[in-house]
């Protein structure tokens, strides 16, 4: 069962003195700092930030109960609120009113990440007015209405601060509304309604997350997933707003995975009073003393812990049977690479259509990255002058699984796996190549090599021949050489290899070598002539080969042919010393006599 917990609390929580009658605890969402204020500050204020370095401790005079306490960014200014209408800055500072708006506000929410404040207005509280702060200015954004499940009569405040949260999901600011079920509105279960709040333009209802249950909920955002904690069942659900649900209305989402609780967490007992052998105490999850903050923070004030919530990907693999959906889900996660590769490996134990789907999903992302990379390169080459906005280099996320990843982690071990039929191995390899081709990704040579190796291992030469015939294995010099090496086991490989070299049209030297090695000296000579390389070719190489055949007439023909060439190029039939043909000249004289040598023609 523990394998199934796909959510966990981080291992290194921020620890602080737990809340008590003498210690008040505050949390600042902007700086993510926890303030432990002992005795109104008189016996100390300890500020703990997300990392150890940002811890600060100080004392201040106890001037009454602290209602709220915060640092400015960079811990420069401390602000303390003791009454509902005043804020004290311990350093003396002058304040200036920049801008004011006059609205009746029920409550507000602030999103530090995007610097947007959301105000609840009107009697029912369901007209929300957002403002955006940017470089010292405050701009009003278009207001919008949250649809209430029932409109109360007479009108009264019906939208609670607790049911609204703001967070960035996939780079877009969303307002999340926890819509409780209502008997009168005939809704059977609660849902989370997401409103997309763009920088410009109207706010629109964008997604509905079906919770399929009722009760008390809390929301977090982790790795662009909406996490909904359900207190009474002590479980959580996750939603991915980018996952398309085939059997749901547009933008209505069911949980990606079945509800599971957060992975059990044990609090390590520490301090001088603790015996080292004492086991850690299990922490009560989903406790009513938990406070949840956006995006991914859970604080237990009574125990003195601040955790970041995390998604564990490996358990999702077994919980999500639909491998296509699983891939869609994983490809959008942050630390997905190894999990995805393990899914690929796993899927090669499954059936082909699934393998195909997995590969296609993978290569879709891979292709998008390659394209972005390419257009970036093009933009860089054409200079920064074109296009005002400087293009950013595309980030290679973990979801980009390239051919070498697949080769190293999945395919090479797969082809060696015992007990798999070679038919299936080849089918999987071809499926990967098919998928790459479908996305117009150039297939790397080592994949072809793997295919050929597998085919050769099982004597499937006719299959190999057909693949080459249809150019499924693209032409390349290494591939041609590989084919050449197969000639002894499969003679037609010779023809295939030569054809490939010819098609490449950059491999004339190789063709000559191949022909010479087969003692086809005349063929080599005619070939090099036909491609116009005769003038630069090494005479010695040809003469060596011709002599090796033991065919004297052949040697004569080749020798004379080069003499004619020399005559044409240099006006003399003799060989240059640099051509190292002396021994062949001697040999020629021995065979045919001095008089058979071509005489320099008189110009």
């Amino acid at each position: 069962m523990s394998e199934e917990h796909y959510l966990e609390l981080c291992e290194n929580p921020v620890q602080f003195e737990h809340a008590s009658s003498v210690n008040n605890v505050f949390f600042d969402e902007a700086n993510k700092q926890v303030f432990a204020v002992r005795s109104g500050g008189a016996t100390g204020v300890v500020v703990k930030g997300p990392d150890d370095k940002s811890s600060v401790a100080f004392r201040m005079d106890d001037k009454g109960e602290v209602k709220c306490i915060k640092f400015s960014i960079g811990n420069k200014i401390l602000a303390v609120q003791r009454t509902s209408k005043s804020v004290v800055f311990p350093d003396k500072r002058s304040l200036k009113l920049l801008k004011s708006q006059s609205i009746n506000v029920n409550w507000y929410q602030y999103c530090p990440e995007t610097a947007v404040i959301l105000l609840s207005t009107t009697v029912q509280g369901n007209i929300l007015q957002p403002f955006a702060f940017r470089s010292g200015t405050m701009s009003k954004m278009s207001k919008f209405e949250i649809e209430l499940p029932v409109v109360p009569k007479p009108a009264k405040l019906s939208l609670s601060e607790r049911d609204i949260a703001m967070a960035t999901i996939y780079g877009q600011l969303h307002v999340m509304y926890l819509k409780h079920h209502s008997r009168t509105a005939n809704s059977t279960s609660a849902e989370v309604v997401l409103y997309h709040l763009p920088r410009e333009g109207a706010c629109k209802k964008s997604h509905v997350l079906k919770l399929n249950t009722t009760g008390k909920f809390a929301l977090n955002i982790v790795d662009n997933l909406v996490v909904v904690h359900h207190q009474s069942s002590q479980t959580s659900l996750i939603f991915d707003i980018k996952l398309k649900e085939p059997d749901c209305a547009v933008n209505t989402h069911q949980p990606v995975l079945p509800a599971r609780s957060i992975h059990p967490y044990r609090i390590p007992l520490s301090g001088p009073a603790v015996v080292p052998s004492q086991p850690p105490v299990p922490c009560q999850l989903y406790s009513s003393s938990w406070s949840v903050f956006q995006p991914d923070i859970i604080i237990s004030a009574s125990e003195g812990y601040l955790w970041y919530l995390q998604v564990k990907l490996p358990p999702t693999v077994n919980l999500l049977q639909d491998k296509g959906k699983l891939m869609d889900f994983l490809l959008r996660r942050r630390d997905c690479k190894m999990v995805i590769l393990s899914v690929c490996s796993q899927s090669t134990r499954g059936v082909l259509p699934v393998v195909a789907t997995v590969f296609d999903k993978l290569n879709q992302v891979y292709k998008e990255y390659l394209e972005a990379e390419q257009s970036y390169t093009v933009a860089m080459e054409s200079g920064p002058s074109r296009g005002s906005a400087a293009q950013k280099r595309p980030v290679r996320t973990q979801a980009v699984i390239d051919q070498s990843d697949m080769y190293t982690h999945v395919l090479s071990s797969f082809t060696e796996r015992k007990g798999v039929s070679h038919k299936f191995i080849i089918a999987v390899l071809m499926e990967y190549i098919r998928s790459l081709n479908q996305f117009q990704i150039t297939v790397q040579h080592y994949l072809y090599e793997l295919v050929i190796k597998t085919l050769v291992q099982h004597n499937l030469f006719y299959m190999l021949h057909q693949f080459l015939q249809y150019h499924v294995l693209s032409d390349s010099k290494p591939l041609a050489c590989l084919l050449l090496s197969l000639e002894s086991t499969y003679p037609p490989a010779h023809q295939l290899s030569l054809d490939m070299l010819k098609r490449l049209s950059t491999a004339n030297d190789e063709i000559v070598e191949v022909l010479l090695s087969k003692q086809q000296v005349l063929g080599a000579l005619r070939f090099i002539r036909s491609v116009g390389g005769h003038d630069n070719v090494s005479a010695r190489k040809f003469l060596d080969a011709a002599r090796q055949t033991g065919d004297q007439m052949l040697f004569y023909t080749v020798f004379r042919s080069f003499q004619q060439r020399n005559q044409r190029l240099r006006g003399s039939p003799g060989f240059n010393p640099g051509e190292h043909c002396e021994e062949h000249v001697v040999h020629f004289k021995q065979l045919f006599g001095e008089q058979a040598l071509m005489k320099p023609s008189t110009v």
């Binding site: 059936v351 082909l352 259509p353 195909a356 038919k423 299936f424 080849i426 089918a427 071809m430 499926e431 190549i433 098919r434 081709n437 479908q438 004597n459 006719y462 299959m463 021949h465 057909q466 015939q469 249809y470 150019h471 499924v472 037609p492 023809q495 295939l496 030569l498 054809d499 070299l501 010819k502 098609r503 063709i511 022909l515 086809q520 005349l522 063929g523 005619r526 070939f527 036909s530």
Partner: protein
């Protein structure tokens, strides 16, 4: 034997066709036992025995000259006989009829007939083997009795479809015409075939064809070669002729009660929904990788569930693929330009992959194989082919035919190309140039642009 057989009009060009095994009746008076099959069956017993005896004697006699290569054919003034020993001591003999024409004594013609008919006899055996396995297998299973039954059953029908008059160089090659296809569509077909084979594990091998051109074969080359022959010259024409004629074929998809896709079975049931449907498929025999004579049996003996599954799986996807391929076909057409009569016609064959391409032959049908050139020219082609077969080296032969046609034969590595040019006043150099150009432009998908584009040149004028 088989005296109950009715009078049947056999193809005029086949005088007799018989199979015998001399070891089956070595003693005098038992000669009849040697004869396993004799066509025409109505021939008198003694004549059968005489003919078989003659063949036996000739083979025996010629063996003394060359024990490893027994006689292949016998030319007499009146007729000609072809011998083939496919398995130890089993002999197939074919005697074509001159059909009343005076015997031709030209050297050329005899040459081509030998290679062509020699190939036809071998094909007869391969075809038998495809559907029945080897003779030896039948002997093991049920002795001479079973073998004669099988031979009777098979050749009685098969010989009727043998049209000796339309056999030519292509029968010698026994090639396969491949359908040119882009890589992506090809990979999709691969993927499709693999998925079908995976989900229906009863399927051992798949071959994929478009019209009568091969795209993919999971079978080994030699098996595919004969199966291809069967499909393209027998099964497909039989099914497509009623369709082309627009006649109401019993195999129309509507009848099968399935309008969603256009897949259907050419062998086996025509309508899966029909409760009376018979699920019978022909058996074929193919060789396996291990054990050279060990033949394995694929039985297309399928249950109703299997057929329905296959139909459901293959049909819809196949329709999609077919439209992809058709698109490709149209593109190919467009590239090859408007359909005007080209200045040349050619036959191309590659021994390595058996790829063949012919612009000389029109559509093959069950009854005739139409060629668009004069038989004399075809004979010249055959002659050149014989010449090529004699030597190992690359060669080129240019022939000026009587009718002002030029015939060019090229052999390079394992490829052969035959071109017939219709240029009246062209000289040798021009013809040579023309062929060079053709080689450069015609990408027979297995490229004619051969590497060793050099030939020892010989000239013939006839």
């Amino acid at each position: 034997m088989a005296s109950g057989m009715q009078e049947k009009q056999y193809t005029p060009s086949l005088l007799s066709f018989f199979i015998y095994n001399p070891t089956f009746g070595p003693r005098e008076g038992e000669e009849e036992k040697k004869i396993l099959f004799y066509h025409p069956s109505e021939v008198e017993k003694n004549e059968k025995i005489r003919n078989v005896g003659l063949c036996e004697a000739i083979v025996q006699f010629t063996r003394t000259f060359c024990p490893t290569k027994p006689a292949k054919s016998l030319h007499t003034q009146k007729n000609r006989q072809f011998f083939f020993e496919p398995e130890d001591n089993f002999w197939i003999v074919m005697k074509p009829n001159k059909d009343g024409k005076p015997p031709t004594i030209e050297y050329q013609e005899e040459e081509i007939l030998d290679t062509v008919y020699g190939a036809v006899v071998r094909q007869c055996y391969s075809m038998y083997k495809l559907f029945n396995g080897t003779f030896g297998r039948a002997m093991e299973a049920g002795g001479v009795e079973l073998l004669t039954q099988k031979l009777e059953k098979f050749f009685y029908r098969y010989l009727q479809t043998l049209h000796l008059q339309s056999c030519d160089l292509l029968d010698v090659f026994g090639g396969i015409s491949f359908f040119p296809l882009d890589k992506m569509t090809y990979l999709k077909i691969q993927s499709f075939v693999n998925k079908v084979e995976e989900s229906l594990s009863l399927i051992k091998y798949t071959a994929f064809l478009y019209n009568d051109q091969l795209i993919w074969s999971g079978l080994e080359q030699d098996d595919m070669r004969i199966l291809y022959k069967y499909l393209t010259t027998s099964l497909f024409p039989r099914h497509s002729e009623p369709e082309l004629a627009g006649r109401d074929s019993p195999l129309r998809p509507e009848v099968a009660g399935n309008l969603l896709h256009y897949g259907r079975f050419l062998t086996g049931p025509t309508n899966l929904k029909d409760p009376e449907a018979k699920f019978r498929f022909p058996k074929i025999f193919v060789s396996t990788g291990d054990g050279y004579e060990e033949l394995h049996l694929i039985v297309y003996k399928l249950t109703r569930e299997f057929c329905e599954q296959l139909d459901g799986l293959v049909g819809p996807q196949l329709t999609l693929l077919a439209s992809d391929i058709c698109e490709q076909f149209t593109i190919n057409r467009r590239i090859s330009g408007p359909e005007k009569e080209p200045q040349f016609k050619f036959i191309y064959f590659n021994h390595m992959n058996l790829a063949e391409k012919s612009t000389i032959h029109m559509r093959k049908t069950a009854s005739v194989c139409l060629t668009s050139v004069h038989p004399d020219l075809m004979k010249i082609l055959g002659d050149i082919n014989c010449d090529f077969a004699r030597v190992d080296e690359d060669e080129e032969i240019i022939v000026k035919a009587m009718t002002d046609y030029w015939v060019v034969g090229k052999k390079s590595d394992q490829r052969e190309l035959y071109v017939i040019l219709n240029q009246k006043n062209a000289n040798l150099i021009e013809v040579n140039e023309e062929v060079k150009r053709l080689c450069a432009t015609q990408d027979c998908f297995t490229t004619l642009k051969t590497v060793t584009s050099v030939f020892n040149r010989r000239l013939f004028f006839s």
